[in-house]
């Protein structure tokens, strides 16, 4: 299928059902999931932002001053604010105002809503491009991947950006047949920019498809082709002029002289008015090519505008603060990461890292269909390039190519050896729904072949009679793995890795983000002396506070370090062994008192200070 298509009524209902199922499942299980280091930062930021919104209603003039904005929004300004605004407002409503939810659940609610969007949208896209069976497989399998389920629980940005990425691609594809979706594509792209910086790559992935579609649809229409060149000329001219401004003013001068009334803004205005105006005229000449180009125009226009509007922090100093934000991510520092027995500390990182990590963390019964589906698609694309082999295969359609490219886009971006490699799989989650669709294609084609074969004997055998047990067989190992490892999602490893213990032998990162500490909090609550100091290692101060205010850690306990604490919960990281030995030294023992040992692998190791070892305040011997 080349053009987009609207879902049928049944598909809409199924998509809604999948969304509800995902949302309810995430909500019902969230209480067990610990607070990751970043999550508590976003809780804190969200609360601050929500307070500013309250101030905006009470005293708008004061709230809109730069001083008030900086006071409220300076915290965690290395990430755009959309999700944190949602987390904070949800907390304000459902916890502070209504008192319906514990604080963490109230913060996380918007994340559940967006995460649950992934199966629903995956179903709609998969169903429209390949058929309902494919869509269902992709949707149902998505949250069965333990690391994806874990990330879907968090009030962070990784799953929301995966949802936004998918939403933009879906809108882009729908825009091929519906102008409204062309407008929505620009809006969703703006929201994606407001979610996480990954969205900056979307135009580069989608533009070739828009251009190809416009080019091929105007082959027999020279008048439309002229307009196509004009639109492209406008984009190119604006890009060149911006480039000239940068070259002539220098990067700093370009940034310094970017005012409301400046050539920079004028160029943007020309692009916005010119592109939309030209597309309006092109639409009168040749609607299909105008439809193809509309998403690019709306993304170019709406993206920056929505990004600016959503983030009060940018309102008084948009250029300087956006430049800081972009520079922060362009020069992000590297965290040490354990990979195949080696500590990766700095680039260049192994080129194959992302592929290997995906292979070892996606349940193998789902990973193999993903690889099969993608390789078949890539094989068809390659064979269709050559005249000798072209007749043997069906060339991939535009929609299939869109799915195929998005299935590897995020993976390819992160695979660059200079890109930071910490964070497990969460940085390339936007690829996973598309890989899920291709897995669904591989599985469904297999089921169809099996049904054909079985119909020799049972002519009336429906596809569902084969697909249902096959789906169950493929998804059951993932479900078992998910249940076994939940809620310690960053620790999951696939059957190919040999599970959690196999991955430990392979020398893979055992966990990260500190959330596994929940396993030992009940022991600490039971055994810590009153007002004791507790060293929770990777758990930061905000998370410590969040465990207390969510009733997971006793309120009288104080955070401490190895030398001044009574109980230590070391979280096993190969790069932090020194921290555990600091505890041995300070506590006078190498014998833990309890811990979290997932399938034998040490994850969190708890030590208790020997009574004859006195606490020292301020560190040192």
């Amino acid at each position: 299928m080349t053009a987009g298509r609207a879902p049928t009524r049944d598909e809409r209902w199924l998509a809604l059902g999948l969304w509800v199922l995902g949302f309810v499942a995430l909500w019902a299980t969230e209480a067990a999931v610990g607070f990751t280091r970043d999550e508590s930062v976003y809780f804190y930021a969200g609360e601050g932002y929500a307070r500013w919104f309250q101030q905006l209603f009470r005293e708008p003039a004061r709230a809109l001053t730069d001083a008030a904005i900086v006071r409220a929004w300076d915290y965690n300004h290395e990430h755009p604010a959309l999700m944190k605004e949602l987390f904070g407002l949800s907390h304000l409503l459902f916890h502070d105002t209504l008192g319906w939810l514990r604080p963490a659940a109230a913060f996380r609610l918007p994340a559940f809503a967006l995460s649950a969007l992934v199966p629903a949208l995956t179903f709609l896209l998969g169903s429209a491009v390949y058929g309902r069976t494919v869509g269902l497989f992709a949707a149902l399998s998505f949250l069965l991947i333990p690391r994806q389920y874990f990330n879907a629980e968090l009030a962070c940005f990784d799953m929301p950006i995966a949802a936004m990425w998918l939403l933009v691609v879906y809108a882009f594809w729908r825009a091929l047949e519906d102008r409204n979706w062309g407008v929505l594509c620009g809006v969703f792209f703006g929201l994606a920019l407001c979610t996480k910086h990954n969205a900056l790559f979307l135009p580069f992935i989608l533009a070739p498809f828009a251009l190809w579609r416009a080019w091929t649809s105007t082959v027999d229409r020279p008048d439309a082709r002229v307009w196509l060149w004009r639109v492209l000329g406008l984009f190119a001219a604006v890009a060149v002029l911006y480039g000239l401004l940068v070259v002539s003013l220098g990067p700093e001068g370009f940034q310094r002289k970017f005012f409301l009334l400046s050539p920079h803004t004028l160029l943007f205005g020309v692009l916005a008015v010119g592109a939309l105006g030209m597309l309006h005229l092109l639409n009168e000449v040749h609607p299909p090519s105008a439809l193809a180009l509309l998403p690019m125009a709306t993304m170019a226009v709406f993206g920056p505008v929505i990004f600016y509007l959503h983030w009060p922090y940018l309102w008084h100093a948009p250029v300087e603060r956006t430049a800081w934000y972009l520079n922060f991510h362009a020069t992000h520092n590297h965290y040490t990461w354990f990979y195949l027995g080696k500590l990766l500390r700095e680039p260049p990182f192994p080129l194959e890292y992302v592929v290997v990590k995906t292979a070892l963390t996606v349940p193998t019964s789902l990973f193999v269909p993903m690889v099969t589906g993608w390789l078949v698609l890539a094989g068809r694309a390659v064979l269709s390039l050559f005249e000798r082999t072209r007749t043997r295969v069906r060339a991939p359609s535009l929609a299939e190519s869109l799915v195929g490219l998005n299935a590897v886009a995020a993976i390819l971006i992160i695979s660059h050896p200079q890109v930071p490699h910490f964070g497990g799989v969460k940085h390339w989650l936007p690829s996973m729904p598309f890989l899920g669709i291709l897995a669904g294609v591989a599985v469904t084609r297999g089921c169809e072949a099996l049904v054909e074969w079985l119909r020799v004997r049972w002519p009336r055998l429906p596809l569902a009679a084969v697909a249902a047990p096959v789906f169950a067989l493929l998804m059951l190992p993932a479900l078992i793995g998910l249940v076994r490892v939940f809620p310690y999602g960053t620790s999951y490893y696939s059957e190919l890795a040999g599970g959690v213990p196999g991955a430990a032998s392979l020398g893979m990162q055992r966990q990260f983000w500190s959330s596994n500490v929940t396993a030992v909090l009940p022991w600490i609550n039971e055994h810590a002396p009153r007002n004791a100091r507790v060293f929770l290692h990777e758990v930061n101060g905000l998370s410590f506070r969040d465990y207390q205010r969510n009733g997971m850690l006793r309120g009288d306990l104080q955070p401490g370090g190895p030398s001044d604490s009574d109980i230590a919960a070391y979280q096993y990281h190969q790069e932090f062994r020194e921290h555990e030995l600091n505890v041995w030294q300070a506590y006078g023992t190498r014998t833990p008192v309890t811990g979290l040992y997932l399938d034998e692998t040490p994850q969190v190791i708890v030590y208790q200070r020997r009574r004859d070892m006195t606490r020292r305040v301020g560190g040192g011997p």
Partner: protein, 302 residues
């Protein structure tokens, strides 16, 4: 794909049966309590299976770190290998290839559930005639300038504390050297041309003198241009003779080793020293051993 899914299902269903239970650990701990001799150690296989630490007698040294399969464990005449060969990717063949040379099993392996306990005579055993980190309390510690002037670092009953920043002291501590836990002498380089010196008497002659040390934690991996090479070594006080020296440039990780034979004669007084022009992140932990003849003592130990 169906075969892969079936294999995955079998893997997931079998996995719980391949793990050790608490009762298994308690059984093994009981055996060890009854049978260990002074000087024995436990080696974990796979190296990361440290859950055993919860149950084993606290006084028994337990080794399990990335690379411990190859550790000579030369302080121990006998080694108990506590293995879990049923674990996925346990890599028993690799373990045996690294561990078995110059070691012989004493008796048969015993099993408690999925735990396997085997006693080995350690042919790599080298008796310690002198260990600096154990003799540290009697050491004379001082900061020494190139012209020979000294500033003492008096012993406060726990550490030899030097004048200057709080990290300038000498005491045995647990630290990590390239994943390996080491109980070694903390000797942070003082910076400039000064040396931090610990002077020990009674280092026996007719032994192998060995210096082992390194920069702790992640600091060895750092290789900024402004970081300095760290030098540490041992010299004979009476003869003013350098005996051992190691130069560890920024970026060189792992335990650095140097050794030489000390000819028979009177026990010596030696200086153990460390220096680095720029002390930033030059956090040295080291030890000096005088090792006896392993072959003879190994037989004594069995």
């Amino acid at each position: 794909m169906l075969l892969v899914a079936l294999a995955c299902l079998v893997f997931q269903l079998r996995l719980p049966g391949r793990l050790a239970s608490e009762a298994d650990y308690r059984t093994v701990a009981g055996w060890l309590r009854a049978e260990v001799r002074p000087g024995d150690a436990v080696l974990l296989f796979p190296w990361w299976s440290e859950r055993a630490r919860l149950y084993l007698p606290p006084e028994l040294p337990v080794y399990g770190y990335l690379g411990s399969d190859k550790d000579d464990l030369s302080a121990h005449p006998r080694v108990w290998v506590l293995g879990q060969p049923e674990l996925p990717r346990a890599g028993e063949a690799d373990f045996r290839a690294a561990f078995l040379p110059r070691r012989n099993a004493v008796g048969a392996s015993r099993r408690a559930g999925n735990l396997e306990l085997t006693l080995y005579e350690n042919g790599r055993y080298r008796p310690r005639r002198f260990v600096a980190s154990e003799a540290y309390a009697k050491a004379r510690v001082y900061l020494e300038s190139p012209d020979g002037t000294r500033r003492d670092c008096p012993f406060d009953g726990r550490v030899h504390r030097c004048p200057g920043p709080p990290h300038l002291y000498v005491a045995p501590e647990w630290h990590e050297l390239n994943s390996e836990p080491r109980h070694c002498l903390w000797m942070h380089a003082p910076g400039g041309t000064q040396r931090l010196v610990a002077e020990f008497d009674g280092v026996p002659a007719g032994t192998e003198l060995r210096l082992e040390g390194g920069l702790i934690f992640e600091y060895a991996s750092h290789h900024d241009a402004r970081l300095s090479t760290t030098y540490y070594g041992v010299e004979d006080v009476a003869r003013r003779e350098p005996l051992l020296e190691i130069a560890q440039p920024p970026g060189l990780e792992g335990v650095q080793k140097a050794s030489r034979a000390l000819p028979p004669g009177e026990p010596r007084t030696v200086k153990v020293w460390v220096r680095a022009e720029n002390p930033d992140r030059r956090q040295v932990c080291l030890d000096v051993f005088a090792l006896g003849d392993g072959a003879v003592v190994s037989r004594e130990g069995t």
